[in-house]
């Protein structure tokens, strides 16, 4: 087998193509690669709404961006668009981060999920092969801990057998194996990063972590009443996306392509995440009930701020004149309504109960360890969502309409 092309000299900037650049990982990775001096191309889908919020700051910062960030319209379900872009860009590295990435949605849209997530990866690999870039272009495939599904051993590492439990996971399983197949069959430098859950302040709002931090911030400011969740006992290994994209890049800088598990090795339940986010906001939650009847009550709800605080201040004034009612009854009114409850609609037909990664290989071979702790991750997410909630609350208080969408 002929060796892969050597790393280019500093004179010629490396060129990277990121599919899914408008997503959480795409944004962090683009930022990282721009910092490293890359020319970065990204593929975005045409949509009737703006969908580049997460990378707009990279455009605006002239020091970072200049003319080194380019966006192209394309779609993982459209072979010719991918071939055209890859031919034009001639990338040294392709990061395939594009996907229908929501597990629950995959049960509703299984075919689309397979088309974009499974065939999407194949279309990129085929384009590389078709254009004769097998020795030039390195390929990173965003694989997922969901492959382990009904876990066959704990913790999960590179050698753990897969047991996918959703159309999303099955589609990603195809992409995982076709990546290995193209590495073995055609000598493409192609590898999988099996990433466990990784979050950030720009995580999609429908993913459970972001849903929690957003909702609690809004509840605190009186913009929302209750956070509805699915299986609160689910155990996950949550890291920070910023740490994980560094590993994506590292994987493409090695002598030979290999697959790696990326994880923190620490596990928390969804309920733990709620408690951590609440703690960050100074909110104390008392849990009552079991299963679908489990509810979280806000004990120190007198902290309720913003619009609610406004009302409460007035109420408190009223209460002042009725000393016997002070505290007790009024707080009880708020406390009688839970701020966290279970909605079985969010249960999945097949649940993945527990995921815990063992990233020993990444540590030993690439020297990678996550730098951002769980508490720091939650704190950052809460901080950012509280800012947005404060902005919304301010807008609302001044009589303007703010976006109020939540699930």
């Amino acid at each position: 087998m002929t060796p892969h092309s050597p790393l280019p000299t500093p004179q010629s900037p490396r060129v990277a193509l990121i599919t899914g650049i408008t997503g959480q990982d795409g944004a962090y990775l683009a930022e990282l690669l721009l910092e490293k001096g890359y020319i970065v191309h990204g593929i975005r889908r045409r949509a009737s709404l703006f969908n580049t919020d997460r990378i707009d700051h990279l455009y605006q910062d002239p020091h970072l961006a200049g003319t080194r960030l380019f966006l192209h319209y394309g779609d993982m379900t459209d072979s010719s668009s991918l071939i055209r872009i890859i031919k034009q860009v001639q990338p040294d590295e392709i990061y395939n981060l594009a996907a229908q990435s929501h597990v629950a949605v995959s049960f509703e849209e299984p075919e689309y999920t397979a088309n974009s997530d499974a065939l999407g990866a194949l279309r990129i690999l085929e384009a590389v092969r078709l254009l004769g870039f097998e020795k030039k272009t390195r390929f990173y495939q965003a694989s997922t801990s969901e492959l382990y599904g009904l876990v066959q051993e704990t913790p999960q590492k590179e050698t753990t057998p897969f047991y996918p439990r959703s159309p999303y996971a099955v589609a990603k399983l195809y992409a995982y194996w076709i990546t290995i197949n193209y590495r073995e069959a055609y000598g493409i430098y192609a590898c999988n990063g099996i990433l466990f859950n990784h979050e950030s302040p720009v995580r999609g709002e429908t993913f459970v972590t972001r849903k929690i931090t957003r909702a609690l911030a809004r509840i605190k400011l009186g913009l929302q009443d209750c956070l509805y969740l699915g299986n609160m006992n689910s155990l996950r290994d949550w890291g920070h996306a910023k740490d994980y994209v560094e590993m994506q890049w590292l994987m493409l800088q090695q002598e030979k392509p290999e697959d790696f598990v990326i994880a923190t090795g620490v596990q928390y339940s969804v309920r733990d995440f709620v408690n951590a986010a609440a703690r960050e906001l100074g909110m104390q939650i008392r849990w009552e009930g079991q299963g679908v009847d489990e509810k979280g009550y806000w004990i120190n709800s007198s902290l309720r701020g913003g619009a609610a605080r406004h009302c409460e201040e007035q109420r408190d004034e009223a209460i002042q004149s009725l000393p016997s009612l002070r505290g007790g009854a009024a707080d009880a009114a708020i406390q009688s309504n839970p701020i966290v409850a279970v909605d079985p609609r969010y249960f999945r037909p097949t649940e993945v109960e527990t995921l815990l990664g063992d990233a020993t290989k990444a540590r030993e071979k690439l020297g990678w360890t996550p730098k951002i702790t769980f508490d720091e991750l939650v704190a950052e997410m809460v901080r950012e969502d509280l800012k947005s909630a404060e902005r919304d609350e301010l807008i609302k208080r001044h009589g303007y309409k703010s976006m109020d969408y939540h699930e």
Partner: protein, 336 residues
């Protein structure tokens, strides 16, 4: 109204292939009404059904498994009790040249059938044709239902995805859906792009005087070759088992392709070494050197076992090719 026994209805997707033909024959003998689909039933000669003499007894329909509308229409119309999904691009070698079509026809076809069953009637039982190719190289260890997949061709990756889709739908929605992980199974109905048939056909022509050379890729590969008519019986048993489960279907005996060649040529009274040439161009980009199976679960739970070794398969295929025997389900049965 008097109670009459309603015959069971079976739908075979991909009835024009080898397994489809034998399965149709088996189900007819069991009293089923059998519908069979092909992407374009008007244009398909159904040569397999013809040669088994059952073309007239099978109701042929056009259905493209990748087109959800056509799948839904056929299932709504027939309301089968059992669906056998044998459709899909079936050649490993071909899958390197048409990986996308391979994935679409295999995995999207399976997905559409599962979705249509959910939509029309979730009591319909569903058999999905898996493949031993999913195991890849097990390093000489016999593969069973617990062996992790390590697929090594676009065909095998697509079959692995389809197998997991079936498992997800079984576990998520309680469908009676299962995958038969069949090891290589051959018969005279194999088309010539399959290596076994290619060898048999060439040996037969050479025995009749042709001076051709038989070009083959890697003949050191080792496989578990069984007799297809026996394997379709395993499919039926899987759908009539109490619970939906996946099964490995194989003989349990592995031999090399060279052994297979030697048997065929010796049936022809020839020394294979004089007629076979190696063509590196026919080697696949990646190919597991050996496949080995442990079919104990099928034996224990389905009371199914193979009575035909790889050598028997080679002999029967050769005999059929040279017009010396019949090709139906039962060895002694007359047909055509």
């Amino acid at each position: 109204m008097s109670e009459t026994v309603v015959p069971r209805r079976a739908l075979i997707c991909g009835v024009s292939g080898q397994d489809g033909a034998y399965l149709a024959q088996l189900l007819l003998t069991k009293g089923y009404q059998v519908w069979g689909t092909s992407r374009d039933a008007q244009m398909n000669a159904f040569a397999g059904l013809q040669s088994l003499g059952i073309r007239d007894q099978i109701k042929a329909l056009s259905m493209s498994p990748v087109d959800f509308r056509s799948v839904l229409q056929v299932i709504s119309e027939i309301r089968p009790h059992e669906i056998y999904n044998l459709a899909g691009q079936s050649s490993v070698g071909f899958s390197f040249g048409q990986p996308l079509e391979t994935m679409e026809s295999i995995a999207f076809g399976t997905l559409n059938l599962l979705e249509a069953i959910r939509f029309v009637d979730s009591s319909i039982r569903f058999y999905n044709a898996g493949s031993s190719e999913c195991f890849g190289d097990t390093g000489g260890a016999p593969a069973d239902e617990q062996t992790p997949f390590r697929p090594r061709s676009p065909y095998a990756v697509a079959k692995a995805a389809a197998t997991w889709q079936v498992a997800v739908y079984r576990e998520s929605y309680g469908l009676f859906a299962c995958t038969g992980i069949l090891f290589n199974h051959e018969s005279p109905l194999r088309p010539e792009r399959f290596v076994t048939k290619k060898i048999v056909a060439a040996a037969c022509r050479i025995a009749k005087g042709s001076d051709e050379k038989l070009s083959l890729g890697n003949i050191d590969i080792r496989r578990d070759w069984g007799w297809a008519p026996e394997y379709v019986d395993a499919m039926w048993r899987m759908l009539n088992h109490e619970t939906p489960e996946d099964f490995v279907i194989a003989t349990g005996i592995t031999q090399s392709l060279q052994d297979f060649i030697a048997t065929v040529f010796s049936e022809a009274g020839l020394d294979w070494r004089a007629h076979v040439v190696s063509d590196p161009g026919l080697r696949r980009p990646s190919d597991p050197p050996e496949s080995k199976a442990n079919p104990d679960k099928a034996k224990n739970l389905l009371a199914w076992g193979s009575t035909c070794s790889g050598a028997d398969v080679a002999k029967r295929m050769y005999a059929a090719e040279c017009g010396q025997s019949v090709i139906g389900l039962n060895k002694g049965e007359a047909n055509v």
